[in-house]
Symmetry: none
Subunit: 187 residues, 2 copies
C-alpha cells in the first residue's frame, strides 16, 4: 500500500546489449591478461577506406616469451620472472588503424634485412625521415626503398648496389605511402 502514487514507465530501462557474456573460472594469475584481452576486444574497431575489417574470430593468442636473459642459460627455478615482456602488438603494430602488411618481392633491400617473400609491416602514420625504409609509389607502383633526405636532395635508395637510386628533382613529387617498421622473415 504505497499512498504516494508512482507513475509507471513502460518502455523504460536499460536496453539489452548485443554482446552476450558468461562467467568462467580462470587461474588468478591470468586475471590481468584476461582483463587486457577484454579491453582489446572492446576497443573500437576502425575501418580505413577499403581496408578489411579485422577478423573478429581469431587473432588473439597468448604466447610465452623468453626474454633476453634466457639465452644466457636456463633460469633457476628460484629465479623470479624476468621483467622484460614482449607484446607482439607493441612490437609490430603501433597504430592498428594504419598498419598494413605487404609482401616484399626481389632482393633490392637485402641490406636492410628484407628478403624476397618477407612480410612487411607498414605503418602509414609514421612520419618518413631520412634513413627510414619506406613504401613509395613510383610510376604507380609500390616500391620498398630507403629514404634519403640530405642537403636538399631527396632520393630513394636500394640497399643493394645493383639497383640505381631514384632521385627526385624539383617539381617531382615523392609519394611515401608508409614506413616499414618490421619485417617478418619465414625460414
Amino acid at each position: 500500500m504505497d499512498t504516494t502514487q508512482r507513475k509507471r514507465r513502460p518502455g523504460g530501462g536499460r536496453k539489452p546489449s548485443p554482446i552476450k557474456t558468461l562467467v568462467v573460472r580462470i587461474p588468478a594469475l591470468l586475471k590481468p591478461t584476461v582483463t587486457r584481452l577484454m579491453e582489446a576486444y572492446k576497443a573500437p574497431a576502425f575501418r580505413p577506406a577499403g581496408a578489411m575489417t579485422p577478423d573478429p574470430d581469431a587473432p588473439i593468442i597468448l604466447l610465452p616469451m623468453f626474454s633476453d636473459k634466457v639465452p644466457a642459460g636456463f633460469p633457476s627455478p628460484a629465479t623470479d620472472y624476468v621483467e622484460d615482456r614482449l607484446d607482439l602488438n607493441q612490437l609490430l603494430i603501433v597504430n592498428n588503424e594504419a598498419t598494413f602488411f605487404l609482401r616484399a618481392k626481389g632482393h633490392s633491400m637485402i641490406g636492410a634485412g628484407i628478403h624476397d617473400g618477407d612480410i612487411l609491416v607498414v605503418d602509414r602514420t609514421k612520419e618518413p625521415n631520412h634513413g627510414h625504409v619506406v613504401i613509395a609509389v613510383v610510376d604507380g607502383e609500390f616500391t620498398v626503398k630507403r629514404l634519403y633526405q640530405q642537403n636538399g636532395t631527396v632520393a630513394l635508395k636500394a640497399d643493394n648496389p645493383d639497383f640505381a637510386d631514384i632521385v627526385f628533382n624539383d617539381g617531382q613529387e615523392l609519394l611515401v605511402w608508409g614506413v616499414v617498421t618490421n619485417v617478418v622473415h619465414p625460414l
Copy 2:
C-alpha cells in the same frame, strides 16, 4: 545415531592446489580465446628444468589483420582490395601451445636472415630436420644454429664462417629445443 560405525579418516581428502582461481565474466565470443589461453597456461608443455612459467601478464598478442592485395608482388594503389586475408597468426604460429619467442643475440646466423635483436618464433612441436634453423641447448644455454644431419654426421652450424661448427659424436646428445619458423626483424 548410526549403528554402522564409520571410521574417521583424518588427513584424507584432496590436497589444496597452489594455483588459485577466480571467476570472471567475459564476452561470450572470447570464450574460445580464453579457453586456449588457459590451455596454453596450464600446458605441461615441456618445462625444462628451470624453465619459466609463462608470464601471466604480457604475452597476449592481438594482431589485427588488414588486408591489402598482398600476394604476388606489390599492388598498384589503384588496384582493388582483394578478399584474400593475411592472418599473421596463421603465418607465424602453427601451434599456439608450443610456440615461444626468443630474442636473437649476435650475428652468427646472419646468413639465415637473423640479426642481433630479432625476435625468433620458435615451434617446439616441429620435427627438426637437416637444414632447419633450430634452438639447441648447448652447455645449458640456448643457441641458434642450423641443424646439419647428413651421412651419420650430426652438427650445429652457424650461418657465418667466423663461427666454428659444433659436431656431435657418438654418445653425445644433441638437445633440440625447438625449430625456428619465423624471424621478426625490427627496422
